[in-house]
């Protein structure tokens, strides 16, 4: 099977492409929309907004979520804000600048047309969310407030305290609930997608596990929308929720959906450091803290004084020193890497020496404690709850942690994967953030895809594609279900000696040590071999207790880890093949003299798109060349 990587970018001037494309797309009349059924997997910002909007348009939507309610999808945990090119602060923002910042922030590894469209619809998102009752922060005059975020020199981030993701998600969720009440969305909670069902090459349904009863269920539809988020949990420790996983996307990959740029992982610079091997997840402290917090380490190695006792001249405010124009607001990949370099140099702080300070002393002195508390009070409380330290008195300790995955299933301009009918939205796709995502852009992308892109492109697909009648009694469904059943009984039958978490943690160590913030050929090869070996051991020695017909939490974890063990290898392979440094992908062999990422635009200005060829054969690396017609490829500099 050859895959078609035509991005289907409309012709014409960048700023008219989307308008033209919308006009050229086929429509379905309202009476006919109700004849179509669409499956939406995941209820985060992308899935929730898509399900609500498609149902409003008249489609029948089947919506699936892994939690007990769609309101709990992990978009909820986004703290800082959402970008839009409103230019309310009158500080020089525009659609074009948001487009430019996003492409540059992504280190020129994203598709121009997609990113431009994202910037164009960003303003509609703010309007839509305000109309749905999202209580964004306001000025005393009643106008919307903005703050600034990493990687940008304008204030374009809208926020609702430190809970922006929650408020946006609840907005999308409320829209969904409205349509559930109207019967246009059928909601399936506590369901996990186990496989994609294709009929005649087109995505026509899914197999899910009812997590309560353990039973497998089949659902058929005219198209499938995958909105299942990223795969950061392959590292075991990440800021992702515990249930966030790659399985839905991975099963689609194995059914023919190509996977793009799997190695592009975002390591967020401001997380609470790891404190022990029992640790189950990492907690992010919003990037907005870098607006007022200053990042530093002691100049001296093994400086065991309390931070307050270290005078200014013995502190290295390294971000301000290296990047005077962006300072503490340097983009995430750059800030994370610099923190790692400091710790590698031995000037890290805290009991593990794997942390740097984020200090609010000067902000408190300048603006007063109340002002600082007004902006970050809830984040400070959260920090204190977790660490027992009071950030008003002593600097926070932070360290980078896996946060987001820019890679994902390859999609064209219509958000359709290489499997016809399978559309991929939000973090699950690869499209908009290149090699590094800017802060407050994930929320923007999820909602852009769900609210303003998919309603047009899906309509066009359904209107222009002949769709045969399909029922869940078809062989394709039976076969897919049977395969899942086999895997389940295999996992339950091993009854080995090691727990699922032990394997997951072992995988996480390989990933963090060799496929993390800084990568090199030797390490990546080590990771590939190590993960292969670990995978073999997993299938011989994992212990999944219990039976299937039950609420079996260990089984749920086991199926996810089985897929992570395959995905991890692909990530390492992709990192190995990308012989350049760009964005979050830093290859030690490819760096400038002052340790900055060295891109190779001549050979790697493309998305690496991986095609699955079978369980026992190597995947094929295809390329989608990225064509920059509007921006000149330049070395990213935040100095």
């Amino acid at each position: 099977m050859t895959i078609n990587l035509d991005p289907k970018i409309p012709a014409g001037d960048l700023s008219y492409k989307w308008d033209k494309h919308k006009f050229d797309s086929k429509l379905i009349n309202p009476a006919n929309k109700r004849k179509f059924t669409v499956i939406v997997v995941g209820t985060g910002l992308a899935g929730g907004s898509a399900a609500a909007t498609l149902a409003e348009l008249g489609y029948n939507v089947l919506s699936f979520c892994i939690q007990d309610s769609p309101r709990r999808a992990h978009s909820i945990a986004a703290q800082g804000g959402i970008n839009a090119a409103k230019n309310y602060p009158n500080d020089g923002d525009s659609v074009k600048r948001l487009f430019y910042d996003t492409i540059k922030g992504g280190d020129y590894r994203a598709r121009e047309a997609n990113v431009y469209r994202l910037a164009q619809v960003s303003n509609n998102i703010i309007d839509q969310m305000v109309s749905q009752g999202v209580p964004f922060a306001r000025e005393y005059g009643g106008y919307l407030d903005n703050r600034s975020f990493g990687g940008s020199q304008v204030s374009r981030t809208f926020y609702a305290r430190g809970q922006t993701g929650q408020q946006l998600l609840l907005g999308a969720y409320s829209g969904m609930m409205k349509m559930v009440a109207k019967g246009k969305i059928k909601m399936f909670n506590r369901r996990e997608m186990m496989d994609l069902v294709t009929v005649n090459g087109k995505a026509r349904g899914i197999i899910v596990r009812n997590l309560i009863t353990g039973e497998l269920e089949r659902y058929a539809a005219d198209a499938v929308l995958l909105c299942t988020g990223g795969y950061g949990n392959v590292f075991y420790l990440s800021t992702n929720a515990k249930a966030s996983n790659a399985s839905a996307a991975w099963r689609c990959y194995k059914k023919g959906a190509a996977f793009a740029n799997p190695c592009f992982t975002q390591i967020h610079p401001t997380c609470i450091p790891v404190h022990g091997d029992y640790q189950s997840k990492l907690t992010l402290m919003s990037e907005s803290l870098r607006n007022d917090g200053r990042v530093w380490v002691p100049k001296k190695k093994d400086d065991n004084r309390k931070p307050a006792e270290i005078p200014d001249e013995e502190r290295d405010y390294y971000l301000e020193r290296i990047y005077p124009s962006f300072g503490n607001l340097a983009p995430r990949d750059v800030s994370s890497r610099q923190a790692k370099f400091r710790c590698d140099d031995g000037v890290g702080v805290g009991p593990t020496k794997q942390a740097v300070y984020l200090d609010f002393r000067d902000a408190i002195k300048r603006d007063g404690k109340d002002t600082v508390a007004g902006k970050y009070g809830n984040l400070f409380e959260m920090y204190e709850r977790i660490t027992g330290d009071d950030p008003y008195k002593t600097p926070m300790m932070i360290y980078p942690a896996v946060h987001y995955t820019m890679g994902g299933l390859w999609v064209d301009y219509n958000l359709m994967s290489t499997v016809p009918g399978l559309h991929v939205l939000g973090e699950a796709n690869f499209s908009d953030h290149g090699a590094n995502r800017l802060g407050a852009s994930a929320l923007m992308q999820g909602l852009a895809d769900g609210y303003f892109v998919i309603p047009y492109t899906l309509g066009h697909y359904l209107a222009s594609t002949p769709l045969e009648k399909v029922t869940i009694e078809d062989n394709a469904f039976k076969d897919a279900e049977q395969a899942v059943k086999l895997q389940t009984s295999k996992l339950l039958g091993i009854k080995g000696k090691r727990t699922v978490d032990q394997f997951h943690k072992a995988l996480g160590h390989y990933m963090w040590d060799y496929v993390g913030m800084s990568r090199n050929e030797t390490g990546l090869k080590k990771a590939i071999n190590g993960i292969r070996k670990l995978r073999e051991e997993f299938w011989q020695d994992v212990n999944v207790p219990g039976e299937t017909g039950d609420f079996n939490l260990e089984l749920h974890k086991a199926t996810r880890v089985a897929d992570f063990l395959e995905l991890g290898e692909l990530m390492a392979l992709d990192a190995l093949e990308r012989k350049e440094s760009c964005g979050g992908h830093f290859r030690e062999e490819y760096q400038t003299e002052d340790n900055e990422a060295k891109r190779d635009d001549e050979n790697f200005a493309h998305a690496a798109v991986w095609e699955f060829t079978g369980q026992n054969s190597s995947p094929i690396r295809h390329k989608e060349e990225l064509i920059f017609e509007n921006l000149k490829l330049a070395t990213r500099s935040y100095k």
């Binding site: 209580p135 609930m177 212990n543 609420f551």
Partner: protein, 263 residues
């Protein structure tokens, strides 16, 4: 972390195989608990031990583990989420306990929250309350500019206070009456405060309150235990605002039956 700092804890955990069988408290002992561990990490450690012993793991709901998704839900020592101010179960850390403590862990209990297994309960009744009107009917594409309607900062802030609800159900679990008034009040209040929400406030309030009453939740008698255990510190003032909205709606909201025909 040095071994000197670690603790040994006695746990009494509610085990119940499924909704049909009877449950009971089972004693467990966990050793080498670090004070830096979160409560859920301590249960993780216990679960790992159970797997090695070939026993069924303790089922509990959790997801984000940073206090925002609202999935975690335990009565720890008789208090929802452990009873620490503005804290969810996942944010409870073991430094809040002492070596040798006995801790009772039970599920959130209420008639409207049937137990699924062990510490996991079914909170879908909350979704049903929201379905009854916890939204603003603003279909995608309708919206005017975000700044077209100004919202005074104190109003926006008050709405945000209410909107902070994570839907965890601690209010119901700790309410001596098993009432969901704080959950519902927060949503009704948020949407009634915002100008965008007022056009359908009356209908929303009537429908949500009537739905609440059919789901097996109790009636508010102003204990305010909900407010005290709410991990987001939501005030019962929002219940009062709902009560106000409800009275107003009952006696003023009127919708004639009209045919919507046209040429």
């Amino acid at each position: 972390m040095s071994a000197a700092n670690t603790m040994t804890l006695n746990l009494k955990i509610w085990r119940q195989k499924n909704p049909q069988t009877e449950g009971k408290l089972v004693d467990y002992r966990v050793e080498n608990v670090s004070p830096d561990m979160s409560f859920l990490e301590m249960i993780d450690v216990l679960n790992e031990q159970l797997i090695h012993k070939g026993e069924d793991v303790i089922a509990f709901d959790h997801d984000c583990r940073e206090g925002i998704c609202g999935m975690c839900s335990m009565m720890i020592d008789g208090k929802a989420h452990g009873g620490f101010k503005n804290t969810t179960t996942c944010q409870v850390h073991m430094r809040m306990y002492k070596n040798g403590d006995t801790i009772v862990v039970e599920p959130f209990r209420a008639n409207a929250f049937p137990i699924i297994k062990d510490l996991t309960v079914d909170r879908s009744a909350f979704d049903k309350i929201i379905m009854a009107g916890g939204y603003i009917t603003a279909n995608t594409g309708n919206a005017q500019d975000g700044n077209a309607v100004l919202i005074p900062k104190p109003i926006a802030d008050e709405a945000m206070d209410a909107a902070a609800c994570i839907g965890c159900g601690a209010c119901v679990a700790s309410c001596p009456n098993g009432s969901a008034m704080l959950f519902m009040g927060a949503k009704i209040s948020q949407l009634a405060l915002l100008p965008q929400g007022t056009p359908e406030s009356a209908k929303r309030t009537l429908n949500m309150v009537h739905t609440h009453d059919t789901l097996g939740f109790g009636n508010c008698t102003t204990h305010a235990e909900c407010e005290a255990t709410c991990p987001k510190g939501i005030s019962i003032e929002h219940i009062a605002r709902m009560n106000r909205e409800y009275t107003k709606a009952t006696f003023t909201y009127y919708e004639k039956n009209r045919s919507e025909g046209g040429a």
